[in-house]
Subunit: 307 residues, 2 copies
């Protein structure tokens, strides 16, 4: 194992580019694992950055860690922020011109060995790296919100990303008990959003058709496939559902019903006019939500499933 | 509250028609709540029924309840089995001719007040009741497998089902801590399967495209949307994701990405040829699965989410 890999697994210096909710959630996660809070740097252009981090970062930490916040480096200079970094993790504005223009600057200012990760939810590394000198260094590490709680990281290399960079990235996350999953191809929306949005689309359809309300769809998921899929994903669940015949047996038994559901599935699009009623239902049912309670329950569930 | 409703909430006599895995799982559930095991009757035409129940029903019970099994009524005569029932719950063969022909017989032999439920995963009550004298009595109560663990019950009345029958059905399940959700319209596959199969279809597509393996898709779901949706369903999750703007804010921020995923979504059909590789992957990854372990974890998760 090379010394840089050992360093990544144990005590890297990390620079976060962008301090929105994803950035702060990552900051919370990294602070739990870094040797010292001084090894974390947060770069953002907002004028009140220091005050903002002081106010908001504690939400992503246990009370016992709040004192670490004041020791985190705060920076508004890209050069200063990345010059000693072993990892640069970007969650800036979600548009290609921003990403395309920032990576050549980071590439120039950061050490040659630094890993370059984008948290983008949709812009592939092959596009973001267009203007970089060395496109082998960049890849997408897309979290499932919020990353200080949820284990999944979608690791999406471009065709240019080097095997070594992928391997170091996996080493880093696995050493911290996380679940990095490497996509073998770039595709629109990566995987988690594509899967979730497919279910969401059908949920929108059924609400629009008046079969259930927004709240009833949620309740239904929370009391059936949610807890099930926390333990076993859909393929394994249906493999079990097929008895001794496995997934093949499942499709032999109820493939007709599956196809019937697919044939009748909704094809709603964004802007089709379902929005008004559904946004309104969500607002009336949920108003302002308390994510702290959600996160505490999610953490307990993960303790059970990871045993 | 009428006396029959009080009886349903506390001490009904229940007859299960059909003793497959769903039937035995329901038997396990009911035995936890019935006043006495003699109040449960299991009807099935298999010749070794008594031996079969004795061997398999304990799998759905805690060890402390195994002694109850020998006291359950076993019957191969429809007339005898339903004549004193307050509830008849059917999970026989999943085809319309069977369902259509059995309900008139049950209707004739059971007490007038008895509730008539079908556990079908796809044949609506409006079709099943075609030959009944009184179509107001029948409705679908579709469980999410296995019903002795999973709280959801999809309650799907036909347009003929009486309000009183629906209301008594809800009373029964709510009194037992379950989550009955009433669909306002019959539709193909009801709701839970439609939602789950929409996600499954996209999973099949991404495996077929070589983006991830079957096992990776499962792992991805288990470490992201599974635990999330066990706590908050998809609408509530995205409502939170939109910050102060709620679900509307969410679509304002990333509606373009959502539509991009929908436009690019897979349209695989049953029999398209993806089966061979995917069934094979499932078999190689999972082989024979141990549902007892899954059920224990699911039970613990539900203890957390229902607090």
């Amino acid at each position: 194992m090379s010394s840089s890999i050992i360093k990544l697994a144990s005590s890297p210096r990390i620079t976060l580019v962008g301090a929105g909710t994803i950035g702060l959630s990552f900051a919370g996660f990294h602070l739990r694992h870094l040797r010292a809070p001084e090894d974390l740097t947060i770069l953002d252009t907002r004028p009140d950055l220091r005050e903002y981090v002081k106010t908001n970062l504690p939400k992503y930490l246990d009370a016992s860690q709040h004192h670490l916040v004041s020791r985190v480096n705060i920076s508004d200079s890209l050069q200063d922020a990345v010059k000693d970094a072993d990892i640069v993790e970007e969650q800036g504005p979600e548009n290609l011109p921003f990403k395309e223009s920032i990576w050549p600057k980071i590439e120039e200012a950061a050490p040659k060995h630094a890993l370059l990760w984008s948290s983008t939810s949709g812009i592939p590394a092959s596009q973001q790296s267009a203007k970089m000198q060395d496109k082998t260094r960049l890849l997408v590490v897309h979290p499932y919100n919020p990353p200080h709680i949820i284990p999944l990281l979608e690791v999406v290399p471009s065709p240019s990303t080097s095997k070594d960079v992928i391997s170091q990235t996996l080493t880093f996350w696995k050493a911290r008990g996380r679940e990095p999953i490497v996509m073998k191809k770039e595709c629109i929306g990566f995987v988690s959003n594509r899967l979730a949005f497919a279910l969401l689309r059908e949920g929108i359809h059924l609400v629009k058709e008046g079969v259930l309300t927004v709240e009833e769809v949620d309740r239904l998921v929370e009391t059936s496939m949610g807890p099930r899929w926390a333990v076993w994903g859909p393929f394994k669940s249906y493999h079990a559902g097929g008895g001794p015949g496995g997934l093949e047996g499942f499709f032999k038994n109820i493939g007709g019903t599956v196809q019937g559901c697919w044939d009748d599935a909704g094809r709603e699009n964004v802007g089709d006019g379902w929005e008004r009623d559904i946004f309104c239902q969500a607002q009336e049912s949920y108003g302002v939500v308390d994510t702290a309670q959600r996160d505490e329950k999610t953490r307990k569930i993960l303790e059970i499933t990871r045993k």
